[in-house]
């Protein structure tokens, strides 16, 4: 039995959706449904309207017109989303990445480090759903 998880990707570059979808298909132990929106507005609408519970939100750090996660993630929290939020960035070295907790972010990951193993680890860590051992 593979556990089903539902993830929302927020990224203004549609190519990232294609790449991440391909990565998600390689994760063997979870059946991942990836939904995709381009903007924070889109994400807010998705959270408000969609009846499906979202297990996780992955979002690009920089999304127009907002500056970075310090502006975007609090908006998602304000509409009542209390699931895990991960921020994807091509560089997580800026000092403000040390303050993710203050802005409601659960984890950060570098684009280059996002591979099927990393996705699997993150799901194990944040989505509490038992994957039965090797069956």
């Amino acid at each position: 039995m593979t556990a089903k998880v539902h993830i929302l990707l927020v990224d203004d570059d549609p190519a990232e959706n294609v790449i991440l979808s391909a990565l998600m298909r390689k994760v063997a132990s979870y059946a991942i449904t990836l939904d995709y929106v381009e903007t924070v507005e889109g994400a807010l609408d998705f959270i408000r309207s969609s009846g499906v519970p979202l297990d996780m939100i992955l979002m690009d750090n920089r999304l127009q017109p907002q500056a970075d996660f310090r502006e975007t993630v609090p908006e998602l929290r304000r509409v009542g989303y209390i699931g895990p939020i991960g921020v994807i960035s091509s560089s997580i070295n800026d000092a403000y990445f040390q303050k993710i907790d203050d802005y409601g972010v659960d984890f950060r990951i570098d684009k280059a480090e996002l591979d099927p193993t990393a996705i699997e680890f993150i799901l194990q860590e944040y989505v509490k759903r038992d994957v039965s051992a090797g069956e």
Partner: protein, 238 residues
């Protein structure tokens, strides 16, 4: 974590370690370290008494093995019987294990690498500042590892483990609560549930639960009731 002065930090890879905050960050650090040296996976194992029965799955405190692999291993094999596991209690030297020379390293038929399905392992025994023992294990299908790479990865694994222990594993009992933890403690004292606190504080429920676990540890209490009672006694909250 500005604990270490520059004498501790060498060779330029420490900036990542300085910035690491949570388990995902240390996962990234160990995972990329494994890939950089030609391994596929890593695992950080906590060692207990040699004769205490150990399960691989419950000894792994952080790892990137495929889901279910450690559990499947435990169903079929006993890690205590493997030559590699026994070696941790004979010496603390970092060791390379190759699938083909397993028989000469231990009893016949007790071959951890064959059982878990890799050709090569590197076991780097490490220990925490509290003296507890751990092993950073790298697994892969490489042929061998060169001397320079071996020395480098052993040093890097030691450094990464040191930060991992201090930042994540250490029981920070008796230390002060952070402002965020105090805030969550106050909401708990008002009878709010984890999901309600997540909404109020604008973080995920996961974060609230992990803060709550830290508060339990720091105050050295066993449940939320005792937590609030002690916090009032200690005048952390009114």
């Amino acid at each position: 974590m500005p604990v270490l002065n520059k004498h501790y930090r060498r060779y330029g890879f420490e900036s990542d370690l300085e910035k690491a905050l949570n388990r995902v960050d240390f996962f990234r650090i160990f995972h990329t370290m494994a890939l950089r040296y030609g391994f596929e996976h890593f695992g950080v194992l906590q060692l207990a008494n040699e004769h205490e029965t150990s399960m691989l799955s419950s000894r792994l405190v952080l790892h990137d093995l495929p889901a279910g692999l450690a559990e499947t291993y435990d169903k079929r094999h006993r890690i205590n019987d493997s030559a590699i596991f026994k070696s941790f209690y004979k010496s603390t030297i970092s060791t390379v294990w190759l699938g083909t020379d397993a028989p000469e390293n231990g009893a016949a038929g007790v071959d951890f690498l064959d059982q878990i399905g890799f050709d090569m392992a590197l076991a780097i025994p490490v220990h925490s500042i509290a003296g507890t023992r751990y092993v950073v294990l790298f697994l892969g299908d490489g042929e061998d590892i060169g001397r320079t790479e071996h020395l480098e990865i052993a040093y890097e694994a030691n450094c990464a483990f040191d930060y991992f222990y201090r930042q994540v594993l250490a029981n920070k009992a008796g230390m002060g609560l952070t402002p965020r933890e105090t805030e969550i403690l106050r909401w708990i004292s008002y009878g709010k549930t984890a999901s309600e606190i997540a909404l109020i504080v604008s973080v995920s429920e996961h974060t609230v639960n992990s803060h709550t676990a830290t508060i339990l540890k720091k105050l050295d209490v066993v449940n939320r009731t005792q937590m609030v009672a002690k916090a009032i006694r200690e005048q952390i909250i009114q």
